[in-house]
């Protein structure tokens, strides 16, 4: 089954109401910014759309109401065309999977679904695949053909080298020269300090950042027993240890790392969502798109 078909089956056919909510959530997130932008910038009148509860009443077009008794609001191209950059972590660690799919396969599915959603709500979406470097960068565009191109590119992505999120995101930041949304899909197995620095830089460049932390259920429990020779996926030196003996320590370290990530994101105003690979993709996506504090219940 191709990525297209997976996305269609697992996400688009099932989202329905979730999609609408997600669209609203996106718009509401950016509502404040767009207002400030409109004051100072010339924007192109894009047309009317029906009034929906929650719209700013000052945007009602009273002339249309006078002529047609319809409540329509004026929309401008700049405020509705959200530029989203999906950053996919394709480092070696993303190749791990204890269940039906690896983290990378799950992340690719997630990214593809996000791409579809963004374009369907008339937003522009781009893709950056990173590991220790920026392996590829497709600038945002708002056409379905672009999404297909993006998905085709995702099909070819394989897990690569070591993780270097911080430096790579910092190198990617200059390419994001227009306000928008950056959604980082990663397992975040990297130095939190350097990642925090990169996130801060993106925020400084007026990017809305969301981090979707992808984690495998096995990575939370460390399901191995007995004497192990552990081979890393990013060319680390093998280590020998007793699985039962180190499990507790590992879980402690993982918990501390994730806590540090959460603290860093919270301090930077970055929304962090954790999605497990054994979780329903659609529900996970809905949570990922929900505004802060108003997540969709699973």
């Amino acid at each position: 089954m191709s990525l297209h078909e997976q996305v269609q089956r697992q996400v688009l056919d099932r989202l329905g109401q979730v999609f609408i909510t997600a669209r609203q959530a996106v718009e509401s997130v950016l509502a404040g910014q767009h207002r400030s932008l409109r004051r100072g910038l010339s924007v192109e009148f894009a047309g009317h759309r029906p009034y929906q509860p929650g719209d700013d009443l000052r945007r009602l077009d009273w002339l249309v109401y006078a002529r047609s008794d319809r409540y329509d609001v004026r929309v401008y191209e700049e405020e509705t065309r959200l530029r989203t950059t999906l950053v996919l972590d394709a480092s070696g660690s993303m190749a791990y999977g204890s269940g039906a799919s690896t983290k990378l396969e799950f992340a690719k599915l997630l990214v593809a679904a996000l791409g579809f959603l963004m374009v369907r709500q008339s937003d522009a979406v781009g893709l950056a695949v990173i590991d220790a470097t920026v392996r590829s960068h497709l600038p945002p565009a708002g056409t379905m053909g672009h999404v297909i191109t993006l998905i085709d590119h995702l099909e070819t992505v394989e897990a690569g080298n070591e993780t270097a999120l911080g430096p790579v995101l910092e190198s990617l930041a200059p390419a994001l020269n227009r306000r928008g949304l950056v959604i980082l899909v990663t397992d975040a197995f990297d130095d939190i300090t350097s990642l925090s620095r990169a996130l801060r830089l993106l925020r400084y460049r007026k990017q809305e950042v969301r981090v979707l932390e992808i984690i495998d259920a096995g990575e939370e429990t460390f399901p191995f027993h007995g004497t192990l020779e552990v081979l890393g996926l990013e060319h680390e030196r093998p280590v020998r240890l007793d699985g039962d003996r180190v499990r507790g320590y590992y879980q402690q370290a993982l918990s501390a790392h994730r806590h540090q990530l959460s603290e860093a994101c919270h301090g930077l105003g970055v929304q962090l969502e954790t999605i497990r690979t054994d979780e329903d993709l659609a529900l996970g996506l809905a949570r990922a798109l929900a505004p802060r504090g108003r997540g969709v219940r699973r």
Partner: protein, 749 residues
Amino acid sequence: MIEFAAPMYVAGAAVAIPLLLHIAHRRRYQRVRWGAMRFLQRILVDRSRRLAFENWLLLLIRSLVIACLVGALMRPQLTLRAAGLGDLIPRSGRTAAVLVIDDGLSTTSPHDAPALTRMKLLAHAYLDTLRPGDEVTILPYSQLSQPLADPLVDLGAAHQAINHLQATALAGDVPGLLEAGLDRFAVHLNPEAELVLISDGRARSYGLDDAERWVRLRARLQTQDDAPLGSRLRPHLIILQPPAPAQALVNVSVDAVGVDRSLLPPGMPVTISATVRLEGPAPATGLLVRLLIDSRAVEERPLSLAPGEQDTLVFSYLFPSPGSHLIEVAIAGAHDAFPDDDHRALAVEVESSLPVLLVEGRPGHGLDGSLGLVAAALAPDAPEPDAVRMPTGAAPAANAGHDLFQPLRCGVSGLTDERLSQVRVVMLGDVPALDAGAVSALERFVAAGGGVLVVAGEDTDNDIADRFWWRGGDGFLPARLGVIAESGPGQHPRLVDAGSSTLSELARAGQEPWNGVSVARCHPLEDLSADTRTLLALDDGSALLIDRLRGRGRVALLGCGLDGHDSDLPFRPVFVPLMRSLATWLGGAVLPSRNLLAGDALAWLPPAAAAGAWPLAADGPHGGSIALAPSTWAGRPALVSPPLGEPGTYTIHEPSRGATVYFQVGIDPAISQLAALDEQRLDVALAGVPRHVVHQPRHVAELFTAAGNRSWDLWQALVALVGLLLLLESLCSWSMARARDAPRTADGA
């Protein structure tokens, strides 16, 4: 002091097992691929010392568990010995006791209070000093040759084994018992060893006259001086024996019964002698010595003996018919300490004639031939000497002649196994050579008990004789045969050694009968071995007639011919008694023997005519039946019984002739020597060997004392320690796991 009841080699497992398990476990790694390596690497950096400590701690605890388990199996004992125990035997740990018991026939004496009963009381008293966990071996003398069972740890079973002891017909052997007892400790495990000799205290059983044997035994008991006294290499020696009677026992015994000749012909009076001995301080009066022939009393004699006196009674009896007969001498009215030796029997074979095979190198008729004169000397009354010339394949006829000897003449070709099976004596007369088959047949004949006289005349080839009959001393010929040569003038034979009692008749006649005999020429007899006996020698000292035992039989060698050419001996009066004596002496033994000792097996050679109708059992004393199994004796088909332990008369009924064959199992005359052991002589025999001697059961327990000694079995403590260590290991593992348990993640997942 901590002692171990089990061998120390087990301790190696305590060290090796956990290490081997640890190494084996570490060699098996499960390979896995993992994405979150940074966290594992952080653990190894941050927690390496703690992980190493936990590893070593668990290894130590597990090693201690195995060491304690192994240590518990080794049954250690902590002993604090009390001081000042003196000569007593200290017992602080588990004891390995070997009881060697003389169950010989002498233990049935005295008749009114058998020593065996008191020996059992002593044995029980000793067993009562043992404790649960001690090991016991009960080793009667009669069972030394049997496969032995494992040591007993059930003291009740040991007491029962003592109760079931019965006296046997064997003569005791204390040195043999002690040696067997020392060997027995090799299968015991307990650390403290005690060798307990339980005997009736008879001097004969100790065999102190065999000084060399006691020297070897003492050396064995002392060679392990560096081993502590009371260890399995050097056990405590305890001698338990009833006290010597206040007065020496009075015992009358029939020590020997004999006849005056090897061959017993029917119709001729036979002199039967019986030696009766009185041991003890009191005289024996009013005794009645009874002679029985085939269980039928034929004569009685009164007898009185002074203390220590020995008397030989002589009876005369004429056996009316040939066959197997039983001569018994019994003493009635003795009322002595040991009734079993008041009776003795002798099984004899009365033969109408003794077949003698005369193999002539130069066959002849009548007085001619190599052994014609010998045949005439053996059977002078034979009407037709040629009539008894044995045709090939024919069996010798019973009573073919009227004389005791039945000479059967044949040539060299007539020397076959079949013919040899029918005779007991063979004489080779001037035989130049024998083929290999004949030599082998002769060898087998002699080994089975037959007698051979080799007469070396002028036709005897000394080279062939040396090469094939003497073979450097390994052949049947008792000496190397030199080239026949002139003896020199005036060489007369003279009797040197009478040999058996049969030839002693010639010795009583003195030298005079030989003075008229001259030997003109003879073969020198050379390279006589040490076991060769010279019966006749010439005046110059050279041997003329010699003999040597070989197997069960004997071979005699005469250096000159008996056809009158080499010597005038055949024409002298002494020739006839010489030949008849030689024939009797060579063929007088009836084999297999019918007079056995306790422990011997009965063997009987059934006649060939009885094949297919062999009896399957012999009748034992008191009506018992003894199974007979087809087997072989000296290479011949025979019926053999199992070892016979009960003294008495055994009979085989021969259906083919309707005859009864008697066998008798007697007791060793030495058993009748009931004199008590001279303990001073025992002190000399066991000089330097610590030992304890106890005579009364109530004094046995006083040999040992554990009072003042305190000992603790540590195995229980070790087992408890194992439990504690396992609990500690569990606590450590739980604590380590708890310390490693990850707290709930911050996002609530």
